[in-house]
Amino acid sequence: MFVLTKLKYLATPINYLNSSITLTFSTCCNGCSREKLITCARDFQGAVRCVAASFLHTSSSRYDLMEFFDDEKNWGASEVKVGRAWKKEELRIKSNSDLHKLWYVLLKERNMLLTMEHEAKEKVALFPNPERLDKVAESMENLESVVRERNRAYFELETGETGEKEAVFDHEELGLKQFPELAGKRISKHIDEHWHYRLMTLFKGSAVAKFKKLYREKIANEERKARNRKRNHVMHLLKRFPHIDTATLEKLYPEVNIRKAMLHKKTLGNHPHNRA
């Protein structure tokens, strides 16, 4: 019975009764001006038509603006317990239409949570379990990646390409390599006038060479500092924990020469026993 997954997402189809529509409409437009009421009514009719066209829907039986808010019994609660996010392997067994519905359930949940968070901030109140936002976001990320997986599989099978935006290694203006996503389809470099222009004019000259030299120096400095920092850390560990397992250190810090570090002044410390 271990199921923590968020959100019950399959709901039975509901017939839209006129009475329920008028009821919810009146609640949603309480206290509006006349013009606002008319536009609201127009929007509302449109929305109803749109939903009715889809026939099967997944939301609860409320259709008003209060859907942006949490259940009334959760108002002012100090803790609202929910399960974990959807995992990829759970989403992979769901059909495309199920994923489509789930996406909108998650989207609505996110809207609701953001509204509640905003409201809590306004009222200087506690927003219970803010990790719910992250759980929804994680689920949405996973869902999107599963959809991408499926589309990629289709395109690879049909066209031999991924069907996604292409990205190629290219030099940017200062001669650094970049991996930008291309907006459109790549054309061959030899017939690409833009590329030819770039080749003739950009990433050339002494200024670019100087920049590249300094840039390489900067990266080398960072690497050197990181190396020293690691070695220093290892020496301090050896100093504080003299009986430490060197195999562990070698595994965690493969680039540090442990034997050499063990004999260093910093490792030995200032005790006369070690100095001798």
Binding site: F2, G83, E90, I93, K94, D98, E109, D134
Partner: protein, 252 residues
Amino acid sequence: MRLTLLLFENVGELTKKYANLPERYIKRSMEQVYWKTPNAIQYLPRTVQRKKFRFTTNRPWTYQFLQQNERGTHRKKVFVEPILEWSIFRGDRVQVLVGRDKGKQGIVSRVIQERNWVLVQGLNCHMRFTGKDKDFPGVAVLSEAPLLVTNQVSLVDPSDLLPTKIEWRFTEEGERVRVSERTGRIIPMPLMADETHDYKSKSAYKESPKDTVESELTKITFSPTLRTFEMDVMNEMEKKEENVTNVADVPS
């Protein structure tokens, strides 16, 4: 460079497991961004934020943790002995090797992996006085001080209730178990080790109204078809693609 920094600031796996919180949330709640470049083309993406945190008994996503790592403060680095394989978990019976309760056995109530610490129920305690005033001496609260897992506590062999060193081995079924080096007996994993902030055990979890029930979760509704996601959804809704420039692209 970034990797090493990440290694040091990492929240322990056991801490995360007990919290049962998404990693993203822990990261978000710990974050202390001092300055971030605006999201515009003239700026390189740079963030100035706190990188070094002092981990204590306060959990990293709490307000107390934030207070201890207050903005603009800097505390001396704490060196923690690296451990490759963690072997003491919540609910384990351990013997205290140092301090006023030396030789006594107790149950591990908390693990603070970031510092190699464990708290043992009712052992290695001190009195904390809260609410102290000039008229009122304060209320005494018994609080356990942390003990290092490396040399201040030792796991207890359940067969003879004596402290022992352990080794990780595999059973014939392929299960990874802790084996006492002295007697060769398996030290079973305590039930408390699976406990999280939300539930005592996975089977004891109570579903909330927004959770998907297991029968719905495990239902396989996917059947592979030669369609993209969009084509499949449109097909189901009985909609036709209208914005097609190339006739060959029309899905069948």
